[in-house]
Symmetry: C2
Subunit: 427 residues, 2 copies
């Protein structure tokens, strides 16, 4: 009943996985009846010290050799990226070997090809850790909710940006200070672009949309805005209005097709996502029959991610011994994203204006001219300038943009200081 | 690729399931590749009108006939209870037929025997809907977290009691009024005992403990307290002290073994479970590596429960076509519950006392004599009587009880008004 495991990549997660497979081998046998043996660990640099000890012959610097190694029953890809990792995963699946990966970038970039290869060979591809770290998301979406008509998925799927926004909201930190704090804690990379630009969240949004709606929207077609431009002032105004600003991955079924987008959004304080603080991740799922589900927990980090990978390894090993697939067929068809201009959302707009009579009338007229109706307006004067905060009712993106462009062109408007979409259930 | 489904029980959930299997048959084929055909529906009364139409010959009043019916590939048990439902589930598993059930009472009463039968015959037994309705809990615990050392599971797993406690906390309703409101909305039965006594939550606690720790504690050995005695005053005092009162199912690994208990508890307002309101359920899982997970959503109701059952049916049907089990082996050994007297918790005690010098000293001395140290004391006088609220540090149940018994015997103490355990991470 021994299953031979080959692990490619022994960085933070890979190293921790090897340790847990060795240290907890007897415990896993006791709990699951499966004896998991680490038979190969592929690394870039054989000379580098590792936080584990394996028998001679286990370490290798040739990851692709795992594919045809008859001692290896299943492969765990923890190299990352889409290069050699992609060759390894694709090669293993084509050879009929089950693969476990935590690589959201690879799944987002080549998902349909990987699933097709898995399907053709009858091999399992598991990737629970690719979205939401230790939070169970992939199985709930693809198994528990297989019979549900999902309407919308809202996710806080990037811990770095949620940490930064939480520090700004809770401690009044500036963006720069909060980013520096995140870097100090190791939550953010020295070059934080992939996180703060929303690129990481976009990979996850693509995967979530695929699983929720069976529609594969190319990541490049996902509307994406990062958090780099968010100012403390807007976080304060949002709080005054009863909202919290979060970077959301949104996937929803609309009349025009599936819409996928990543952008900062104002979330009502009583919404379950509003209370998700720090590096925690959460996915909020709305379905026609099931109602609202919230799945929350640590979205990254060595312990949680390794637990998710290990759960997948145990599942895949079950399949190895049963000579059967354990995961459902993932049936995702390529689809065009819904036209972003037609997606209706509520907007928050901060305007810096001259404080004189007629300003509000001119602004309101511009919204009206574009068919956008206003939900609330708040004006705060300071000397000869004033800040106007407008929250609109729901209207298509294209009309909101046209209205704001028209307002930006008004003589009395000095600056469109900020624009955020507002996620709420109200019209 | 057609899988024959037999459904026993066509009440709220059964009726909805039959409808969805019929109405959404083509959609399920498109999404999963599985063609699910309803071939038998067993009911108690064939003459009763049903919210669905099936071909002649599908309705039957002999549920046990489904076991040997060769047209039936998998059986869905939605009769409830442990009588005929138990015979059906056990008979089907022994015959090697996969079973889906939402019956927490049956799983809690006969889990180990059912899993043994499933194991012996190589048949799947799926029961995602038995705990937490539409919330994915069974798969996350038994699959995603298969490699995790779970430390503690805290659940709000009974929607009726959570609704009642929410009404009392949010609207100041009395217990009687909140119960009546729950009955008016159909959340509580005319005889609400199974819910308000904690019996329903106890079944679910047993199942959660089994899956989390591989230890089967007989439901009869689970310490259980209901919500019947909770007074509005204590909910108010709890709020003043920064807590919310919830009926919790607690399963935890202790030095003395696995402890399982169901009782009202004070939860800090910032704890994720504190914000779970109304009929919503939530399960909070703490693991050594994974950290803290929260899974929340509708814990009951036709739509969510039917979605969970349908997800299980789809999974089981996959197994039918693959001639393989899709669920992991559930390996749960009978175990004795940890001695309840040795379980350390913090207590909140409300005392009605005479308002005269020396009262607090006498109370404090009684705690000290029993080795219980006090975290906070608050006294509110009104005339010659006063209310004293004590929150202790963590101490074993037996010592807490002895201290409170000694205090109850003090001349100056008119009444021990209420006692609640406090769930918090602090000592």
């Amino acid at each position: 009943m021994t299953v031979g495991i080959g692990i490619a990549g022994a960085g933070t997660i890979g190293g921790a996985l090897v340790r847990r497979l060795i240290d907890e081998r007897a415990a896993v046998v006791a709990k699951t009846g499966l004896d998991l043996e680490v038979r190969a660990v592929a690394v870039g640099d054989l000379a580098k010290p590792r936080p584990f000890t394996v028998p001679d012959g286990v370490m290798t610097d040739r990851p692709l050799d795992l594919i045809d190694d008859p001692r290896i029953d299943l492969i765990v890809e923890l190299i990352g990226g889409t290069g050699i990792a992609g060759d390894l995963v694709m090669g293993a699946l084509r050879a009929g070997k089950p693969v476990v990966t935590a690589n959201k970038e690879l799944v987002a970039a080549r998902g349909p090809a990987l699933w097709a290869a898995a399907e053709a060979a009858g091999a399992d591809l598991l990737f629970e850790a690719a979205v939401g770290g230790g939070i169970p998301i992939i199985r709930p979406l693809s198994e528990t909710l297989a019979g549900e008509r999902i309407v919308r998925v809202l996710g806080i799927v990037n811990g770095t940006t949620n940490y930064i926004l939480s520090r700004m909201a809770d401690d009044g930190a500036t963006y720069a200070d909060a980013l520096a704090a995140a870097q100090g804690l190791g939550y953010a990379e020295p070059d934080p672009t992939a996180d703060v630009s929303g690129a990481d969240a976009t990979s996850k949004a693509t995967i979530l949309a695929g699983l929720a709606f069976g529609a594969w929207i190319d990541s490049a077609a996902v509307h994406r805005e990062g958090i780099e431009g968010i100012r403390r002032a807007d976080i304060g105004f949002a709080a005054d209005l009863g909202y919290v600003i979060k970077l959301l991955a949104v996937a929803e079924r609309t009349a025009d097709g599936v819409s996928v987008r990543v952008h900062p959004a104002m979330v009502p304080v009583r919404h379950p996502l509003a209370s998700i603080r720090g590096a925690t991740n959460a996915v909020f799922i709305e379905g026609g029959a099931v109602g609202e589900l919230l799945l929350a927990g640590p979205g990254a980090g060595r312990g949680p991610t390794t637990t998710a990978v290990l759960g997948d390894v145990i599942d895949a090993a079950r399949g190895v011994l049963a000579h059967a697939r354990v995961t459902p067929r993932i049936k995702i068809e390529p689809a065009d994203a819904a036209d972003f201009g037609s997606i209706a959302t509520k907007w928050y707009i901060r305007l810096e204006v001259e404080d004189r009579p007629g300003v509000l009338a001119a602004i309101a007229a511009a919204f009206g001219d574009h068919g956008v109706s206003i939900k609330s307006v708040r004006q705060e004067g300071r000397g000869d300038r004033a800040t106007v905060l407008v929250v609109t009712h729901r209207a298509p993106e294209a009309r909101q943009r046209a209205a704001v462009a028209a307002i930006a062109g008004l003589d009395v408007v000095a600056e469109v200081g900020a624009v955020f979409r507002v996620e709420s259930d109200e019209a």
